[in-house]
Structure formats: C-alpha cells, structure tokens
Amino acid sequence: MSGAAPHLVVRSISKRYGPTTVLDHIDLTIRRGELVTLLGPSGCGKTTLLRAIAGLAQPDSGKVELAGRDITHVPPHKRNVGVVFQSYALFPHLTVAGNVAFGLKVRGTARREINAAVERALSLVKLGHLAGRRISALSGGQQQRVALARAIAVEPDVLLFDEALSALDRKLREEMQVELRRLLQDVKATAIFVTHDQDEALTMSDRVAVMNKGRIEQLAEPRELYLRPASLFALNFVGLSTRISGTVLAADNGKVDVETKVGRLSALGNFQAGSPVIVAARPEQLRLGEQSEANSAAGRVRSVVFQGSRTLVEVDAGAGESLLAELSERDGAIPRVHDEIRLSWPVTETFAFPMEAQA
C-alpha cells in the first residue's frame, strides 16, 4: 500500500455535551504508518476525539474512515482500533499473557496462533519473562508495556494512546518516548498520541495537531510547528517566545511594520494598517548587540537562568514589555542581572499575530 495514502480520515466531526461544544468540526487525515500527536491543554477535547475514533463516543455529526472503510456507525468491537488508556485498564483477573491474549481469544483465533502472537508482542515490549505474572505484581512502567502489547497483539489498523505515558515518572517517560517511537516505526503502526506535554509531542510524532477549544489550530511537523506557529495559541503552547504588543503602521506584501512601546519592529504577517497585533520571536533568535536589517530592543536584565548548554536571559524592556533570549556561552559572555543590554533578531524570524486571538 502506498505510504502517502490516507489511512485514517476524520471528516468534520462535531460533538456537544450539553451546552458545551467539545469537538467543533474537526478534520484530520493521517497516512498509513504515521505517528500523529494531539497536543492541547486539558479539556480541549483530545480524549473525546480519540473516543470518537475508537467508537466509544458517538459524534453528533461528521464521519470517520479507517483503512478505506466508513466506520462512523461501526461499534467499537468491530473497528479494529487499539487503545492504550491513561490508566492502562489492564484486566486484574488475568495474567500478563492473559491480558495480551484477550483480544485474540475474543476474535476466536486458534490457540497456537494466539500463543505465538502473545510471545511476539511481549518480546517486542521486552516482557517475555513476565508472561505468567499477575498484573498487580507489576511496576507502572511494566503495566504500561503490557497495555501496549495487548493493543499491538491484535494488529489494529490504528493505535490510540490517551496520555499513555503521563503516569510514569519523568526519566522513565523520556526513555519510553524514544523507545515507543522506535517500536511503532518497527512494526509500521499508525498511531495517534494524546498529550498535553509539548516535549512528548515533539519527540514522538511525525506531525503534531495543536488543539484548542475543540478545534485543531495547526497540524504540522514538529519543526515547522516550532519555527512557523500558525497562531498565537500554537506559539504559546509549544516552546518559549518573546511577545510584544503593538499597532501596524504599514503593511507590504506579507510584511508589516509595527509601532510598539519598545520601538518600531518589522514582522511577517498580513494585516491592514492600524490593526492591533502581537509581535513574537523564539528566544534562540535573539542575539546580544546590533545586527543589520534586524529588529532590536534594549533593556535591563531581570533574570538569568542557567540551563546547561544554554542560558535563558529575561530582559525588562520598559513599558511592561519583556524580551526572552536564549544565549550560548560560545557567542560571548552571558550578561548579569541588572546589566543594560541590547538584543536583536532577524525580521524573517519575527511573526505578527492578531491581538484578539490571544489565548
């Protein structure tokens, strides 16, 4: 099958619970073998979208297609969708192997095939030696792996992970992120992760869908999402930034000049003169000193936070505005608190967003 063929298609799905619109005309197309993350704050509808795909929640309108089949009205047990739940939802009355075999038994698979599939799934998650254990005798990380093995064993058309790693401690979680991504790529799984953790999203996915209030604000590769955020919400949710409010003075073909309290700045964006905007740049774009053809602003250093290879410097630019720069020792001495400094950054890495969309 072609790698570019749409595998999971969500068409304009909407869902309301009482007066609140939880999903607002969501469109999402995922290719076979792709790993996509739904990233957004708590309550934005990520779980609901996942449940709609799994068939556990019926959308009010819209369609879901999986592997070329319209599954909008297909019950969950006939969808061939694998789900790894946040609580793992392992069956306490079954052993590790019993849990992994569950889906195959239900499908009436022959015993020998089941045994082989269970063995394969457990060795994938490196738990072959624990097949006979009771669930209650496993650590959190091990339970997470059993849940994964159980979902993989039935060879689902798509795997859905709802905050599946969030219960693990930080170190284990970061290890699992890398391992899980490699494992899913090895078995050529198509998967959707749900998370509110931006690092997890950037680490694990081919593409990230930033969700806000029941809508997808941006669907892009992690790199593009970070470098070219499509909205102020996406900018704020992924990574740090300097943000300065102002008014458009002049607009010219995808570029605007903006009057702000820290001086005149240029940014990319399409606006009419007079529009209120937020001008933003990523902290690693800011450099000490002047550059030609660049934006710049001056101020007094408010805080310096050492972060290993980099140092975050926050500058009070006056009038309630501040600048955030990520500086490296390699590019010169790091300023100290209370130093008066000037920072500059390229116009091509400066973006203007409409003011009213501020989230």
Binding site: V83, A89, V154
Partner: protein, 266 residues
C-alpha cells in the same frame, strides 16, 4: 522500654480476646461429645449419640428447611437487587446517591429487636400478614444491607474503562460485562452472598416477631429446645452449624482471601 511494654500489653490483649472468642466454641464442641446428658468436665469418654438425636428433635426438619429456604431466597433476591442498587449508587449520576447508600445500609446499625417490632407493626398496618412471606421480606431487610455495602465498595474499586478496553479489543458490550466486570466483581459477590446467607440463617430478634407455629426458623426452634430440654443434642447441632460455617469460610478464603472478607484489607 515503654514501647516494648505497650507491645506486650497489646499482644496479651489480642491473645486473650481471641481465646475469649474461641473457648466457648470449643466448649460447645466438647459438650456435644459428652457421654452423659449433663455436660461435665473433665470428660469421661466420648459419645456421638447426641448427633443421632438431632434429626429426632421435635420440628427440627421443617425449621431447618424453612431457615435454609429463607436464607437462600433472601440472599438471592438481595444479590440481584442489591447489586443493581449499588450500580445505580456507584455509577449513575443519581442525585443524593450518598443518602441512598446510607439508607440501604442503615438496618445494619439498627438493633434487631427494634427492626423486628418496626416490621411487625408496619406489616400489620398495611395488612400484610402472610406468615412465610412476611418472614422473607423481613429477612430481605436484614440481608440487603450486607449486599449493598459489599457491592458498593466493590464497584467503587471497579474501573469502568476496563469495559471500554474489552470493547476496543473486540468484545460486544454485554460480552465485556461478562468477561471483565463479572470476574472482577466475583469476589465481592461471593462475600456479599456468604454474609447475607449467614445473617439470615442465624437471625433471631427479627424472626421472632414474625414467626408463628408453622414458620419457626431454626434459631427460634433452638432457643425453644434449650428451654425445654437442655441436653447435649443442642450442642451437637451447634457444632454442626459451626463446622458448616467454618467450611464455608475456609472455601471462600481459598477463593478470595479471608482478609478481604473481614474488610481488613482489599
């Protein structure tokens, strides 16, 4: 030093209490093998003739049968209705679920005597006087709280996403309930059933108000025997009941664990 003394005191208390609870049972068991009609220590020889007499006690078989019937029937009805009620309380977005739960369990906290009088008066007031039926309904009041309490606790521990997990793995909804919820709740079910059965089977204070000549439950009959002819036959019967209970508890301990039944751990 103080701590060690405290530990010793606690141990002495614990052992003393355990003896205090167990010794009377041992005495009963010993008395049932007494060779003479009047139980005397030390025992001079042993006899099983009192066990042979149990069946010949006046009205024993009808009473045993009645008690078993009432206990089994009330337990069965309680298990079904109590579980449904527990689901509504633990799961449904029932307004005032806490009040319902308390109401369901409240007969446990009421003196049996008060309950008996209240039921008798209540039944009379509404003209409900069918002998066996009143007894059954009264025993439902006794058994339902045990079932409700155990099942509410069991359901509170049950993770309903297990059902969703089973569904995504290929189970229909009823299939998921059967394959996942029933096994997960089976221990609670067994515990509820046993406690309910025992509570009904040995109830005296409520039954006494609702029994008539034809519907005398075993405990009522036994008290009557004691008054009429206090010989070791009754001790033999008590020992049999005790043995049955111990076997029941032993088997359920094998199945679900006694500590869970006692509620000292989950």
């Amino acid at each position: 030093m103080m701590i060690r003394a405290a530990i010793v005191v606690c141990w002495v208390m614990a052992i003393g209490l355990a003896l205090f609870l167990i010794v009377p049972l041992l005495v009963i068991a010993a008395a049932s093998f007494s060779p003479t009609p009047v139980f005397d220590l030390p025992l001079t020889g042993a006899s099983t003739r009192w066990y042979g007499r149990i069946g010949r006690l006046d009205g024993f078989w009808p009473s045993l049968l009645l008690s078993l019937q009432i206990a089994l029937l009330s337990t069965a009805i309680s298990l079904v209705s109590g579980t449904l009620a527990a689901i509504a309380i633990a799961r449904g977005k029932l307004p005032g679920a806490g009040i319902f739960a308390t109401a369901l369990v409240s007969p446990l906290m009421m003196p049996g005597l008060v309950l008996g009088i209240a039921l008798l008066q209540g039944f009379r007031a509404v003209g409900f006087t069918m002998p066996g039926a009143t007894l059954l309904v009264a025993h439902l009041v006794i058994t339902l709280p045990y079932v409700a309490r155990t099942m509410i606790a069991g359901l509170a521990r049950f993770d309903f996403t297990l059902i969703e997990a089973a569904r995504t793995l290929g189970c229909t909804y009823p299939g998921s309930v059967l394959r996942v919820m029933v096994p997960a709740l089976a221990p609670s079910f067994l515990i509820a059933g046993i406690f309910s059965f025992l509570a009904s089977f040995d109830n005296y204070p409520v039954s006494i108000f609702l029994a008539d000549v034809r519907t005398k439950t075993l405990p009522i009959r036994m008290l009557q025997y004691i008054e009429e002819a206090p010989d070791p036959t009754l001790a033999a019967l008590s020992t049999l009941i005790l043995t049955g209970t111990v076997i029941l508890l032993f088997v359920s301990d094998r199945v679900v664990g006694l500590h869970r039944m006692a509620g000292t751990s989950d």
